[in-house]
């Protein structure tokens, strides 16, 4: 009996803060004295960031050259419907020093690299250098898996097959003579793509790995001959190929072609006239697309984009305005309470 007196009944619920739902709790109260300063603070911070972004974006120089050639006056007009190898050149001038490093992009519009079936049309294992998949590429590449004679295509799939194949060269007109601006094709792809995701089979010479395979139908050259000057820029780890294989998120996109980092152009492109020579191969007529070349330098925030800076400034100002409105309402409310 004594024992029972001291013991709590086992049926009795535990009287703890947790079971009784009495855990110490913080209840955020959105009272004016908290909300108004908070809004002011957020507003100020946003405006600050916005201004910084805006200035950074404004300082970026941008040179766009559309070379689609749908206008009969355009130098590339002749190449538009030509089926043979065709070259055209455009001239442009840079008024001030184009600060370096300058990034050389090509751009496509209305090109849906983000199409689902298109994106799936590749064989990751093949691109990882697995020879088994050279012989027998994944069916995800269909219908770009085998050619008409049932020889496997490497690299297979629509994505690789449709690789962009215009080439560009840039020359600086110095005292009437064309001086070639050296374009640096190294390091334009993601480091991880070049070193991890894409691999060539460990077969030397590389060409042996491709025995019994065919190049993609649209390609002028097989994968192992993409860059004849650099052994390490061939096969699947060719930088242009890597850039192409990283699918753009939006139908209007640009992709890095080269960087201008050498010789006299380390600090940028000096003011003056330039000639862009285009080897025009890639057809854009079938999707109403446009092609362009973009020269741009970058800041800490990437390429030129005014949106983010403006958005930050607008949102910041809205916060400040709202806090002022609230202050007025609050003051009125306060007075009413005093009465």
């Amino acid at each position: 009996m004594v024992k029972e007196e001291q013991e709590e009944s086992p049926n009795r619920p535990d009287n703890t803060a947790f079971t009784q739902q009495r855990l110490p709790a913080w209840q955020p109260i959105l009272s004016a004295s908290i909300v108004i300063p908070m809004f002011v603070l957020i507003g100020a911070a946003f405006i600050g960031v916005g201004v910084a972004l805006f200035i950074a974006s404004r300082d970026i120089q941008l040179q766009e050259l559309d070379y689609t050639g749908d206008d009969s006056a355009h130098p590339c007009y002749k190449c538009r419907s030509s089926t043979e190898k065709c070259t055209c050149s455009m001239t442009f001038s840079i008024p001030n020093l184009f600060k370096g490093p300058v990034f050389f992009y090509y751009g496509l519009t209305n090109y849906f690299q983000n199409q689902r079936k298109y994106g799936a049309s590749k064989d990751d294992n093949q691109l990882y250098g697995d020879l088994d998949y050279f012989k027998d590429p994944s069916s995800s590449c269909d219908p770009y898996t085998l050619d008409s004679r049932n020889i496997p295509i490497v690299p297979c799939g629509a994505l690789a097959n449709s690789m962009f194949n215009d080439t560009f060269s840039l020359s600086h007109v110095v005292n009437g003579t064309q001086k070639i601006v050296p374009l640096n094709g190294k390091g334009i792809a993601w480091w991880t793509d070049y070193n991890v995701k894409f691999r060539n089979p460990s077969v030397t010479p590389l060409i042996n790995a491709f025995n019994g395979t065919k190049k993609p139908t649209n390609w002028p050259k097989p994968a192992y001959e993409l860059d004849t000057t650099d052994v390490y820029n061939n096969g699947f780890i060719n930088q242009d190929f890597l850039v192409w294989m990283r699918r753009a998120a939006l139908p209007d996109f640009r992709k890095l072609y080269r960087r201008i980092t050498h010789d006299d152009y380390v600090n940028g492109l000096p003011a003056g006239n330039y000639t862009l020579t285009i080897e025009y191969n890639y057809p854009v007529y079938s999707f109403n697309g446009r092609k362009k070349v973009v020269l741009s330098n970058v800041s800490w925030m990437g390429g030129k984009n005014d949106f983010l800076g403006i958005a930050y400034i607008v949102v910041g100002s809205m916060c400040v305005v709202m806090s002022i409105v609230m202050l007025i309402v609050y003051a009125k409310f306060k007075f009413a309470e005093d009465d």
Binding site: M1, E4, E5, Q6, S9, N11, R12, P13, T19, Q20, Q21, P24, A25, W26, Q27, I29, L30, S31, A32, V35, I42, F46, L53, Y105, G107, Y111, F112, N114, Q115, R116, K117, Y118, G119, A120, S121, K122, S139, S140, P143, A158, N161, T192, V196, R247, A248, L250, D252, F253, S286, F287, G289, W300, M301, G302, N305, L308, A311, V315, M318, M322
Partner: protein, 1279 residues
């Protein structure tokens, strides 16, 4: 194992089937066939005693569980979509990956089901292996397991042992052939019940010999009725002996006070009555869930619209292409489909892509949340009752949120509002009233300390010891010192007081001095003169009180004990050692235990010491509290019920003489007759005397002719006086009973006996025939007197009712009492208020009822429109009796009746039958489309409890039938207040908000994908990796809403209880309605637009790639979705912080690990190093911040929630504030909760929560032509 042909097996199975289906079963003893193979056993077709309550078997678990799960539509939907993914032309993801979410959901549910089933398996095994004793031809009784018991066996049960199967009682160690059982395991009734041996089977001189049992037991097919059993035993000489439930020991009962008993197994295992009665937990679909399903359907529509847009967009996109660009991939044959076919495929692909618009984990989450909510409800210490040591039980697991939407409460009165502890208050004998003033004072004294629990306990404890007298009103200081100790022992003490209705409050009655004198005068004046046929009516009155009942007498020292584990063990040991009566061990056990609650009586002065001691040992075990109260009252006057056997009653008279009455028959109570009678043979006069007691209206019309005649005889006066007293009692809120007597002549008795026997042996409509014979005998009664028994209100009942009404809940009380009693209790529990306009509807026929109803309705409308009443009050209450209710509920009047009740603040229905109770509930529920709750404690409330949306059972004095039928079981009415106002509100708001949030979350996330379709030619591309999409819903954002649904507290307990008006939010409009649902969907659209287009504009014209673009979208969505919840969360505890921060951390850790580890693991998407590279880019952070802020900015337009500020205040200012709030009602703040329909009268009512604020308005206008009960209640409202 002998080989048997399959044909024989099939034939056997069919035979068995037929044997089980037959209306009547013939069973013979197994002993003659002992040791024979199974095929020769006569009872082999009947189920064995092994039970199996598991749903699944080990082998078939998977298919069966899957089959069960696919009954849920959502699961089918998701599996269907996953299967669609296997069709190459329409697939959106890799098929295997698409199966993951649904598999996880199915697996989780299967694990839960499996675990539950395993628990059931374990408990089955434990039960099946419980030992018991079966008679064997060779070794007498051998110990076997429960599962070995078969139909036709002889099983011996000893005291305190649980009966293993339904046994036909053939032998009892009790010389009278009685076996006492306790059915607490079955229906919770703790009083002992008597079961009697089937008589006439054994020759008197021979002992009980199972081997010689060669009769055939013929019994009915198993059914679940615990109170009826039809059976006869056919002896070899074709003589039939009938047996009924009186001879059946039910499985699960405990044998008490009987050394041992032997029974013949008639039903075993799943065919036993208790097993047929147990039917798992109830499944109800809550209102919220019904609405939820409707909204899931809306989401489906939305999904289809979006898919149609996608398909149409794809068509336009394809059409707009001038040629065949290199990014358009033909099928494997190099062939492109026409745009219309492509867009049809795209439609299906879009469904797959956007499927998570229908929240896949919603159903599982809702179940989890409900489990959590139920955990907190059952663990609430405020809903724990110390007295009975019981918590609230949640029997229905999925309607917690319905508690927050109750609009109508239907309550029983007796045992629900009142204690159901009957206290004898006063009586009227032969037309003379005996007010029992001292007794009233005693009760008042016991009333006072009720405010303080401690003191009342002290009183209870103290009373028996001090032999309560009028002088000891004050509590001596010495007592108070002992409070601490007593308080501690309170729980223990109560756990031991198994005897029903035997608290000191009920057992002690102080006799009225005048009546005592009257009795002693009667005694001395030759009441005992031999052969005097006119036994003094006063003596007769008390004899009737003592005899006319079914109270079982047990001695205190033989008092039973609860079977505890250790005790059970000891019994077994005893048994195996010897055949000693086990009762000895029970005795020693009891002696060791000091009896905490000794029942004792105040003895009349004429008694001597020895009888006191003896009488004090007596324990009365009654089925109804009224009976106990009357027996205790009789005892107080010296008429002590000493013993009761099936055919005799022993009563000690005040003179000390013991009279043994031969009981010829007991006409048991039923709700049609509303009375019971006992037919005895008087030992002195040798008369056949019928004592009847019952409800006044059922008795008064049966009185003998002298009462009916139009002459002014003395009997007529007695009847009139008694009726007057009865009315007075009723007005005081007492329960009334009339006591009558009838002397039956020898010849009448003999002829009646024949009929009675025929009725009892009848197999068909036995009950009806028996009732008819009872009615036959109960005529021409002689009125002896009437008793008034008080049933006290439970503590805090008025407070709870006031709070519930202020919460906008209409409270109806349905009672079987007389209108006067009911109205009185209505005032006491503040269902009716002094200033109320009380409409009393009582009419005899339909015509008057119709006109009455019409004109009342008109008055009520006019009253409501009356300018004088606008802004003051509209407290109309309706009192209606059962007869009128029947008429008012007839199909052509019910509309008007409902209209009238809508105007009434409270409704009191008197003299209603159980069936009417449920009819009222159904009517209100169906006509007004409101959420109803019924609360009751007795078997008569079961219908009502089952008819309402939520049934609440009060586990009180009347057994467990109401609890068994209920969804929630509480122990006190006051718990209802917190259960509804606090837990109901919380459960509802939590779940409603969580569901809305779930919809929002999925729509917001899925829409990101949808917006992207506009930029990828509607080709169902995802910019997220698919694994991340799965993780997003499965891990990153799944726990916070569940936590929100379990833990969030929008308003604190104190405020919810202090301002019941807050409850109104949930009632009709609530948090979860059409508007809030669509607002949240719109908000989701807005947020997804923000989260998509800000990154879109920021990355426009750049070289961003697909998954790099998706990563800030995903991250921004995560933050927006989690912070959205953070705004919704009203109070942050440690759990909240941990889960919210944990979710964010989990997102980054898992995503970083995944993007670092997966190089070619998930083609075609290839998220390698995406997050790492993004996290190195400041733009990523800027975009995520901007998205989150802009998405949530509209949510921060500062809502000044008064109640949340209220919580911040310290308690004193908060109370002050609540007071002010209440003072302001009708002012601006209260308007927020105003409901246009139905008009809520309490809203503008001056407040009565704080008595100081009570207005002295006495507006009950005389000009009102209504039938107003203008009762001015003088009695102070106690408790």
């Amino acid at each position: 194992m002998t080989w048997r042909s399959p044909l024989a097996l099939v034939r056997d199975a069919l035979q068995g089937q037929r044997a089980r289906e037959r209306e009547l079963r013939s069973l013979v003893s197994n002993l003659l066939y002992e040791g024979l193979e199974k095929a020769k056993q006569p009872n082999r077709f009947f189920l064995s005693n092994a039970i199996k309550t598991t749903k699944y078997s080990l082998l078939l678990f998977l298919p069966m569980n899957l089959y069960e799960q696919f009954h849920r539509f959502a699961n089918l939907y998701f599996v269907g979509i996953a299967i669609l993914n296997f069709i190459p032309v329409v697939n959106a993801f890799q098929p295997e990956v698409a199966l993951i979410p649904i598999c996880v959901i199915l697996l989780l549910t299967a694990l839960k089901d499996g675990w539950e089933d395993f628990r059931r398996y374990q408990s089955d095994r434990k039960v099946n292996n419980t030992p018991c004793f079966i008679y064997s031809r060779y070794k007498q009784y051998v110990e076997r397991r429960w599962k070995d018991v078969r139909v036709g066996d002889f099983v011996r049960v000893v005291s305190n042992e649980i009966v293993p199967a339904d046994l036909l009682l053939l032998y009892s160690s009790n010389p009278n052939g009685v076996c006492h059982i306790e059915t607490a395991n079955l229906d919770g009734e703790t009083n002992l019940k008597q079961r009697t041996v089937v008589s006439g089977l054994w020759a008197a001189n021979l002992g009980f010999e199972p081997e010689s049992f060669n009769s055939v037991v013929v019994c009915e097919r198993p059914n679940n009725n615990l109170n009826h059993f039809k059976c006869f035993v056919e002896k070899p000489d074709k003589d039939k002996v009938g047996a009924s439930i009186e001879s059946l020991l039910l499985r699960g009962c405990t044998v008490r006070n009987t050394n041992h008993a032997v029974g013949f197994v008639v039903y075993a295992g799943h065919e036993t009555k208790s097993m047929l009665n147990s039917n798992g937990s109830r499944y109800k679909r809550s209102k919220l869930e019904r609405k939820l399903n409707a909204d899931v359907f809306f989401c489906l529509l939305l999904l289809f619209t979006m898919c149609l847009i996608g398909a149409f967009g794809h068509y336009l996109w394809l059409e707009s292409l001038p040629g065949v660009p290199s990014f358009l991939v033909p099928d494997s044959n190099g062939h492109l489909d026409v745009p219309s076919l492509e867009s049809f495929y795209m439609f299906i692909t879009m469904i797959i892509l956007l499927q998570i618009l229908i929240p896949i984990s919603l159903y599982v989450s809702v179940e989890l949340v409900k489990v959590g909510q139920i955990f907190f409800i059952t663990n609430d210490i405020d809903l724990y009752d110390e007295e009975t040591d019981s918590r609230i039980q949640c029997r229905a697991l999925n309607i917690t949120e319905d508690l927050g939407q109750i609009e109508y409460i239907f309550s029983d009165k007796t045992g629900t509002l009142t204690e159901n502890k009957m206290v004898f208050r006063r009586c009227s004998v032969m037309g003379t009233e005996y007010p029992h003033k001292e007794n009233a004072i005693r009760l008042d004294v016991m009333d006072e300390p009720e405010s303080e629990e401690e003191v009342i306990f002290n009183q209870h404890q103290q009373l028996p010891r001090t032999r309560w007298s009028l002088e000891s009103e004050g509590i001596s200081p010495a007592d108070t010192q002992q409070h601490g100790r007593r308080r501690k022992s309170k729980v223990a003490a109560n756990a031991h007081s198994d005897v029903a209705f035997s608290s000191p409050l009920e057992t002690e009655v102080i006799p009225d001095q005048k009546l005592l004198q009257q009795i002693s005068r009667a005694e001395s004046s030759g009441g005992r003169r031999d052969g005097n046929r006119n036994f003094d009516p006063h003596l007769d009155f008390f004899l009737a009180l003592a005899i006319c009942n079914t109270v079982v007498v047990s001695m205190e020292n033989a008092h039973r004990q609860r079977v505890t584990g250790a005790f059970f063990q000891r019994n077994k040991w005893n048994r195996t050692r010897s055949e000693d009566p086990v009762i000895d061990s029970a005795k020693t056990e009891n002696e060791a235990d000091t009896n905490e609650l000794q029942t004792c009586s105040l003895h009349p002065p004429s008694q001597n010491g020895s009888t006191i001691a003896e009488a004090e040992e007596l324990c009365y075990e009654a089925e109804s509290p009224d009976e106990a109260a009357l027996v205790y009252a009789a005892r107080a006057y010296g008429f002590i019920l000493l013993a009761r056997t099936p055919d005799s009653v022993t009563v000690r008279l005040p003179s000390g003489e013991d009279l043994v009455f031969e009981v010829l028959d007991t006409l048991t109570f039923d709700s049609n007759r509303k009375r019971m009678s006992v037919l005895v043979r008087h030992p002195v006069t040798k008369d056949y005397v019928l004592y009847t007691k019952g409800a006044d209206y059922s008795i008064m019309e049966l009185l003998g002719t002298p009462y009916a005649e139009n002459v002014s005889g003395i009997e007529k006066n007695i009847a009139a006086d008694t009726q007057y007293h009865l009315d007075c009692y009723a007005k005081d809120g007492l329960r009334t009973l009339c006591i009558t007597k009838k002397v039956v002549s020898e010849s009448t008795y003999q002829s009646w006996l024949g009929e009675r026997k025929r009725a009892q042996a009848a197999m068909e409509c036995r009950e009806e025939l028996i009732m008819r014979t009872a009615v036959q005998l109960e005529t021409n009664l002689t009125l002896l007197g009437a008793t008034g028994i008080e049933d006290r209100l439970q503590e805090n009942v008025p407070d709870s009712i006031v709070a519930l009404r202020e919460a906008g809940i209409h409270v109806w009380v349905l009672t079987g009492d007389k209108p006067e009693t009911a109205v009185n209790i209505g005032y006491a529990c503040r269902l009716l208020e002094e200033e109320d306009l009380v409409i009393n509807m009582s009419c005899k026929n339909k015509v008057t009822c119709t006109s009455n109803l019409d004109c009342t309705l008109e008055e009520v409308r006019r009253y409501g429109d009356d300018l004088r009443n606008i802004g003051t009050t509209q407290n109309i209450s309706l009192v209606i009796d059962g007869n009128t209710l029947d008429i008012a509920m007839s199909p052509d009047l019910q509309q008007r009746f409902i209209e009238l009740t809508k105007h009434c603040r409270s409704v009191l229905c008197c003299r209603v039958t159980p069936l009417q109770k449920s009819a009222v509930v159904k009517l209100v529920r169906d006509k007004l489309k409101v959420m109803t709750l019924a609360v009751g404690d007795g078997a008569n409330d079961v219908n009502m409890i089952q008819a309402a949306d939520i049934g609440i059972g009060i586990s009180g004095q009347e057994g467990m039938q109401a609890v068994m039928a209920s969804d929630f079981a509480i122990s006190r009415f006051k718990h209802l207040k917190k259960l509804i106002l606090v837990h109901g509100h919380w459960c509802y708001t939590r779940l409603a908000n969580m569901i809305i949030y779930f919809f929002y979350k999925n729509v917001a996330y899925v829409n990101l994908l949808f917006w992207y379709q506009f930029f990828c030619g509607f080709t169902a591309t995802t910019m997220f990796d698919y694994w991340q999409m799965i993780f997003f819903n499965l891990f990153f954002t799944s726990t916070p809403p569940i936590m929100f649904g379990i833990f969030d507290k929008d308003v604190s307990v104190e405020v919810l209880q202090g301002v019941p008006e807050l409850y109104r939010t949930g009632q009709r409009k609530g948090e979860y309605n059409f508007l809030t649902f669509w607002i949240s969907i719109l908000d989701a659209f807005y947020q997804s637009l923000v989260c998509f287009f800000i990154p879109y504009l920021a990355y426009q014209d750049s070289d961003v790639d697909l998954f790099t673009f998706g990563m800030p979208l995903n991250t921004a969505a995560l933050f927006a979705i989690l912070l959205h919840l953070a705004i919704e969360i009203k109070s942050w505890t440690l759990v909240h912080w941990a889960i919210m921060l944990g979710s964010v951390a989990l997102y980054f850790v898992v995503t970083l690990a995944y993007t670092a580890g997966c190089v070619t693991c998930n083609p075609p998407s290839n998220p390698y190093w995406i997050l790492q590279s993004q996290m190195a880019d400041p733009i990523f952070y800027l975009i995520v911040t901007l998205c989150t802020v802009v998405a949530l900015l509209p949510r921060y337009s500062p809502p000044l929630c008064i109640c949340r500020q209220l919580d911040r205040m310290d308690p004193s200012t908060r109370d002050q504030w609540i007071k002010e709030w209440r003072g302001f009602r009708g002012g601006a703040p209260a308007k927020r909760y105003e409901l246009p329909d139905p008009p809520s009268p309490t809203l503008e009512t001056p407040v009565d929560f704080f008595p100081d604020f009570l207005p002295d308005s006495d507006f009950m206008g005389d000009d009102l032509s209504l039938n107003v009960i203008a009762e001015s209640r003088q009695r102070a409202v106690h408790t």
